[in-house]
């Protein structure tokens, strides 16, 4: 994996062109296009143009063989589960159809775009595929970008908050130009390294919108009387909320809205099952000339999340990842034989399954001082017996250590994981003695102000794993004379308390993106977001541009901030990597966030006969975008009997 990553470093260098890989540039004429059986009839009936006219002149050609996959056969349907109707929004992560996106090797490359020119992270020229069409057959052009930039982002009514932050470099928006029908350009005065990673992030910012469709709801374009009628019918105040409602690229809740995804929602689904059907205009094909996706239909049944394992066990699911957790594995394994499916066990790419966040900005002065004492934090970390946690909670399969990047990331170094993370109660006790926490009655240490050292660790009430981990840590800490109280909280309340500095310590997940590349934003490591429960008030200060919260006032943390700023200003990946390493080292040494165990398994249920999903891989929200980078449009039924879509 590391080998490939090195090449990507090159690709991202300033001045490079992110272009379609060599294979894709092969003459299209070499590939005989094949009509999907599902569309054959419609094409024959003249209801749908033939495949050659539906595809861009230069479609995205996926070289499956080069990726260790096989060329599939179209057809069939795939049943999956969602917990709530709203969860259809995860399609945009899983379907992962981006202007530029990561490959499964985390290489950034054009997808919707045919090419992207990056000049020093300042000037980005985006080239569209000629002949690319929305799912309704309407051409996808530069106009769609212009519409978004001029009529949505820069429309006060639709975007009261103004230009989103990833479009700002040093607080300044870019200049936007339409070079021709298939080319647009964004130009910033200073480098904007956020732009590309954001395009490839699990939450697509959609800097293009189907202008031809949304125009009908835009005050600037639509016929006023007609629009007024629509507004009245929707019982909204003005055209803007109506436009917002229709424009649900991310939420996927409006089946009328044209899409570029491999599947589009079929209108008039009931609330119990959402049906997605293949998009006849999808821009990817395989080397055999078959249009992707292979699977004709994706059926998303709505069922309560607690039943996911049960339904999988009963063989009611073809394909499911999100919603299954490690604890479900025995049940899933149990049903495999009888129900004809496999449980793939992938690794979760998270910094640490559960991490402790001593709040450096807590309002309690005593705790604040203590939390800020690096010896105290190191002692807390040393006192934790991570091996026991691993055995008890992760079947002994996890990786013990700090909350840091994982193997698989080019930025990984063993010391980041192991520093101050070996179980050593004696050393921990010594450190605590040094800090000045003398043991009081019952073996519990006293705080400088005489209170017993009872740490209230607040935890998001939904996460059973965190509570279990804390129960174990309670024992470990008691050995060094610290008392831990677990306090489950509602997530919202927990967050608000943290923002106000009322939490002393919080247990939560570690790094979200633990397999970063240097080009990805190291925001999780820097005191710039109030969501980071180690320093919510510092983050607040940055996010609110100084109107609330407090400025970073610890030298080590300032170094973090400096490294982050350096990354933001970087123009090449070496600078970016250096910034990353500086921050990771600081974290390991300072134990701002105390990691426990990483590497929980993510079970993925896959029906026998569904091919082209790797048996082992990393799973996370960022950067894998759930299953997104593994290209689920390439999954297919390798058994003929399965390929026939189930009759409803």
């Amino acid at each position: 994996m590391t080998r490939v990553l090195n090449r990507r470093e090159l690709l991202l260098q300033a001045g490079a062109t992110l272009a379609v890989l060599p294979l894709a540039t092969r003459a299209l004429a070499d590939i005989a296009l094949q009509e999907a059986p599902l569309f054959a009839e419609q094409v024959a009936a003249g209801k749908l143009p033939p495949i050659a006219q539906r595809l861009p002149k230069q479609p995205f050609v996926s070289d499956l063989a080069a990726n260790g996959r096989v060329i599939g056969k179209p057809g069939g349907s795939m049943t999956t589960l969602i917990a709530k109707l709203r969860d259809v929004r995860y399609l945009s992560a899983n379907a992962y159809t981006r202007l530029v996106g990561y490959t499964d090797k985390l290489v950034l490359r054009p997808d919707i775009l045919s090419a992207l020119d990056n000049e020093g992270n300042r000037v980005f020229t985006l080239r569209l595929r000629e002949g690319h069409r929305w799912s309704d057959g309407y051409p996808f052009t530069a106009e769609d970008f212009r519409y978004y930039w001029e009529d949505i982002v820069n429309n006060k009514q639709l975007s009261p908050a103004g230009v989103p932050t990833y479009m700002l470099a040093d607080g300044k928006p870019p200049t936007f130009e339409v070079l021709d029908e298939h080319t647009v350009r964004y130009t910033w005065a200073t480098p904007n390294p956020l732009f590309l990673p954001t395009m490839a992030a699990p939450q697509d910012p959609f800097i293009y919108r189907p202008a031809h469709f949304l125009r009908n709801y835009h005050g600037k374009y639509a016929d006023k009387d007609k629009l007024d009628q629509l507004v009245a019918k929707a019982k909204v105040r003005s055209w803007a909320p109506l436009h917002n409602r229709m424009d649900s690229m991310l939420e996927n809740s409006n089946p009328e809205l044209p899409t570029l995804f491999p599947w589009r929602a079929v209108p008039a689904s009931s609330g119990a099952r959402i049906v997605f059907e293949r998009n006849p205009y999808f821009h990817r094909i395989d080397t055999a000339g078959q249009q992707l996706p292979y699977v004709d239909q994706v059926l998303a049944d709505v069922a309560s999340a607690s039943l996911f394992a049960a339904k999988s066990n009963a063989g009611e699911v073809d394909f499911l990842a999100r919603g299954l957790v490690m604890n479900d594995i025995p049940v899933l394994k149990q049903g495999e034989g009888a129900q004809g499916y496999k449980t793939l066990l992938w690794r979760l790419a998270r910094g640490s399954e559960v991490a402790l966040y001593p709040n450096l900005t807590t309002v309690d002065p005593v705790w604040r001082q203590l939390n800020r004492d690096v010896r105290f934090r190191r002692a807390l970390s040393l006192a934790i017996d991570r091996h026991t946690i691993n055995n008890a909670l992760l079947f002994g399969l996890g990786q013990e250590g700090n909350n840091t990047v994982r193997e698989g990331s080019a930025l990984f170094e063993p010391s980041y994981r192991s520093k101050w993370a070996q179980h050593d109660s004696a050393a921990a006790a010594k450190l605590l003695d040094d800090v000045g926490l003398a043991k009081g009655s019952g073996g519990i240490r006293n705080l400088p102000d005489g209170r017993p050292a009872e740490i209230v660790v607040e935890v998001d009430g939904d996460t059973g794993l965190a509570v279990d981990t804390l129960e174990l840590i309670t024992e470990f800490w008691r050995e060094v004379g610290l008392k831990l109280f677990i306090k489950p909280q509602d997530r919202t309340i927990l967050r608000n308390r943290a923002y106000e500095g009322q939490t002393v310590m919080v247990a939560s997940q570690g790094l979200d993106n633990a397999i970063p590349t240097a080009g990805m934003v190291p925001g999780e490591l820097a005191p710039v977001h109030q969501d980071n429960l180690a320093w919510p008030r510092w983050g607040q200060y940055v996010e609110t541009k100084g109107t609330s919260g407090e400025p970073v006032d610890m030298p080590e943390a300032k170094k973090l901030l400096e490294a982050y700023t350096a990354w933001l200003r970087s123009t090449d990946s070496a600078q970016q990597a250096a910034a990353w390493h500086a921050m990771l080292a600081l974290h390991a040494d300072n134990q701002w966030i105390i990691g426990t165990v990483a590497g929980a398994l993510q079970p993925i249920v896959l029906r026998d006969g569904l091919a082209n999903l790797p048996a082992e891989a990393l799973y996370s929200w960022a950067p894998t975008s759930l299953l997104g980078i593994y290209r689920i449009d390439e999954i297919f039924w390798d058994r003929q009997d399965r390929r026939i879509a189930k009759a409803p």
Binding site: K333, E471, L472, I486
Partner: protein
Amino acid sequence: MNVITHTKAPADAGSTPHFVDPRPFDPGASEPMANEDERYWRASALTLIWWKFKRHRVALASAIVLLVFYAMLPFVEVVAPYPLTKRHGDFLYAPPQPVHLMHEGRFVGPFVYPYSFKFNLDTFTRDYEVDRSTPQPIRFFCKGDTYSFWGLFDASFHLVCAPEGGTMFLAGTDRLGRDVLSRIIYGARISLTVGLLGIAVSFALGLLFGGLAGYLGGWVDNVIQRVIEILRSLPELPLWLALSAALPANWSPLLVFFGITIILGLLDWPGLARAVRSKLLALREEDFVKAAELMGASRARIIGKHLIPNFMSHLIASATLSIPSMILGETALSFLGLGLRPPITSWGVLLNEAQNLASVNLYPWLLAPIAPVVIVVLAFNFMGDGLRDAADPYH
């Protein structure tokens, strides 16, 4: 004997002879108060209730069961074989160890066979293997793990302990290797008091509002009746939900526990208030209450001396019948994640942890907390029934 022919008698009927019972007749002998059981006459209402209750055998048995449960509460540390947080890292999801008496055909006394596990990577389960060669006798009245009794002092005396160097998981262990039986026993402390405290709140409110409505009548009655009607026309679960969501976030688990009981009580009072009210209205019609009024007794005296003693037994009986719904309410709230949360251990919390398919088909012993819930709820219902039947000893 005189035979007098009735002149109007139909001819065919003839006349009926004048019969007189020749046996001696003593009106005094038949005085109903003569020689009967003085004990019964001197029995107060409470005694009569008790006598009547005793005859209801199921209710009596239920009462005894409950008594045992509640008597255990102060001493759960002693009763439970393991302390609440005791974890056995080598025995995760261990199935229950059955208690045996005979080893290889010979009586050894209660003992268990040790077991150990192999982690099965194919199924991701731990396969436990019982070693039938070495019986490990269970110890009684013994020194076991150290616990902090009520947080007051440390002790290590237990009623039952695991064998020396062995384990005793009579109801298996959970995902962290904690003894399920011990957790159930500790959970009783919370689950059983929820009902009592809740009912105390409900009782106080029901008595107050029902009393006001029944005694004052008029517009007070009207308003209270409307309030009850309104409360009853909303499903109680959302009310629980909303109220428990509104509990201040910074409350300690103990306070949350009290909060939950108060919520349970707050929503239970209308039923009780209705009972109080109707009973009061009925009692007010009784002559002895009127008599007290006409005697010039003060309101307080009438309420305290005449009304309350006469409907209290009924009220307690109907209150008893509300306790099970509170216990179930706690489990329901915990199930929804709105009630108590770990590390507080209640039956609801335990059941919440068990509410997944894995518990049903892989670790069925995690469902063990159902048993005490069912037993206690049943016992309360039966006892309540018995109490209600006995509440009016004069019928």
